[in-house]
């Protein structure tokens, strides 16, 4: 047992912490207000090699481990969850999909610029008909002489409007199902592939979330990612890794809420003493601290398992489930500790609540994650649940 971070892990965390505090945090409130996509900060992330961090050296990456990557996400999220989500969705899901399942040609063409931060890759699983049921996309991919013809629509796609290419999950057999889902890499601007207007979101307002439409989109055979019919299992594996990132993101938001709440409780006086003297407030702070530290340990454990090449599906699901709910509770408590100020934009902590809330929804809702965990421990029993229950194992894209 060793709880010590390696020198690389510590240095990456410290670097991102310094960057996030000096360069990101000062603009986060404004970014939330304007909803402007953080192009400039993404360029800085690229300069600092953060896009290279999780990818292999053959494609211009640094071969960093999952622990370092997750620590980087936590630190970014502490300052600005929108930026952290933009980064995490690209690295874990879009580029992450290619990293895990792309051909050498696809990686050379797309992963290399992705690792340099020159091309964002999005991942599109969720559809108007439902996101939790990953095994049954309505989007269809039909074989043609030239390759594949894609038709359908996707919703809530992170980086949808800014991506250079998107991994689209589609049914290669009517109705999809196990063996009937495949992934296709569709470059932006491919005829028939269009991006809809940005959603008006509760939080994460400077992240890019858009619907996508595919109308007779013809792509070559090289667009297929991995084996035909393996898309469902692939998506599950990609999401397993992604959940570690979302757990770290949630911890970052929760920690920011805690830090602000603690500072406020120490300086604000009521009835002639600082709020932090009141046991009701102290207990809140103690609970927030405890839950966030446990959430951090949970994502680090899942990341460690992944780095060891060991199974981590259950641990990633537990980390994401617990961390996201802990972050929302922490943000909620931070609002309460701030009183009326907490309910206003000026109080800042309301942003943490709005941002944290997504973490319980994206990359597998809390409900779906509980299904995953129950299944992993065998609580589903010997009899498989009825279809489409099979799809629920996956949980959705972010």
């Amino acid at each position: 047992m060793d709880f010590e971070l390696t020198p690389d892990q510590r240095a990456v965390r410290d670097l991102v912490r310094a960057f996030a505090r000096e360069e990101v945090a000062p603009h986060a409130t404004e970014a939330d207000r304007t909803g402007q996509f953080p192009q400039g900060l993404l360029a800085r992330l690229a300069e600092l090699d953060l896009f290279a961090l999780p990818f292999p050296p053959e494609y211009g990456g640094l071969g960093g481990d999952t622990i370092s990557y997750a620590l980087a996400i936590e630190e970014l999220a502490w300052a600005d969850a929108s930026l952290a989500l933009t980064y995490a969705a690209h690295c874990s899901l879009g580029a992450g999909y290619l990293h895990l399942f792309g051909s050498p040609e696809q990686k050379a063409r797309w992963l290399t610029p992705a690792a340099r931060g020159e091309a964002l890759i999005a991942f599109a699983l969720t559809e108007p008909g439902g996101g939790s049921d990953a095994a049954h996309p309505q989007t269809r991919a039909e074989r043609r002489d030239e390759g594949w013809l894609l038709n359908g629509s996707k919703v809530f796609i992170t980086n949808g409007a800014h991506a250079a290419a998107t991994v689209i999950m589609a049914a290669t057999r009517p109705g999809g199902g196990k063996g009937g889902v495949s992934a296709f890499l569709v470059p932006a601007g491919t005829p028939g592939f269009t991006v809809g207007p940005q959603y008006e979101k509760l939080g994460l307002r400077s992240s890019d979330t858009a619907p996508l439409a595919l109308e007779d989109v013809l792509v070559g055979p090289e667009a297929l990612v991995g084996e035909e019919g393996r898309g469902y299992e692939q998506a599950l594996a990609v999401l397993d890794g992604g959940r570690i990132g979302i757990a770290a993101l949630a911890v970052g938001i929760g920690q920011a809420a805690l830090d602000r709440a603690l500072a406020y409780a120490r300086e604000r006086t009521a009835f002639g003493q600082p709020l932090s003297r009141f046991q009701a407030i102290r207990f809140k702070l103690a609970d927030m601290t405890t839950e966030l530290e446990l959430a951090r340990l949970a994502y680090l454990k899942a990341a460690w398992l992944k780095d060891q090449g060991r199974p981590f599906r259950k641990e990633a699901a537990m980390a994401k489930l617990f961390a996201s709910e802990a972050a929302t509770r922490a943000a909620n408590a931070a609002i309460q500790i701030h009183g009326g100020l907490g309910y206003t934009r000026d109080g800042v902590v309301e942003r943490y609540w709005r941002d944290a809330r997504l973490m319980e929804i994206g990359e597998g809702t809390s409900e779906i994650l509980r299904l995953v965990i129950a299944r992993e421990v065998g609580a589903a029993g010997a009899t498989p649940p009825p279809d489409p229950g099979a799809g629920l194992r996956a949980g959705p894209g972010p």
Binding site: L15, L53, L62
Partner: protein, 263 residues
Amino acid sequence: MHVVVCIKQILDPEIPPREFQVDPQTKRAVRGRASLVISPFDLNALEVAVQLKERAGGRVTVVSLGGEETPEALRRALAMGADEAVWIRDGALEATDASGTARCLAAAIAKLDEPDLVLFGRQAGDWDQGLVGPMVAEALGWPLVTNVFQTRGENSPLELLQQAEGGYRVVAATLPAAATITNHEANVARLPKVREIMLANRKPITQWSLGDLGLAADEVAPRVVVEALAVPVPEGHCTFIEGETAQEKAQNLARALRELKVI
């Protein structure tokens, strides 16, 4: 151009005041949960050195005398752009003071391959004495320019921009020379890139003991005796400013503040 930067690892000065404690027995700050960082002005010195290297070519060697966590500071310096790192490490140095430190650093610099310029932070962020830089320059017999924030030119004489009242003074320094560095917007320490961090973590660090430096333990024994060390207790006093009219009150307030040397 071979630039040497001497850095000190200190307790993070940014920790909340309530967490800062002094051990009355050893008369030292208690580590507690504080992390160790490179002293702030030393970071400015590193930045000045790396900028000089980028402009004039050459290399940067970073030297630090310190305890077991010193490599972390040296690696940070390597990630920022230093080429080599030297750790002066010896059990006999545990209790040393500015003069002992300066002796070691001077011996180390003399042992390095013909340095042209040695940079120090203006003062360390823990004791704030500002002694080591001048003492090393004295020991080496090199000219010293204090409160420098930037360099200009590429060769000897090198122009050193020295902070001065309301502006700056340009000092042409014949090399080899020493300078202490103060903070300025031109020398804010850069954030290293992840790639450089990883490379730095794999670079070797040279270790020199007192013996390697040709020094004996009694030569570096502390010469300053700290009699007492305590965290000041903040005290509040309240004075009511009297006066008939607002103007009179304001005048009395101004006088009181002036007497307190606040304004």
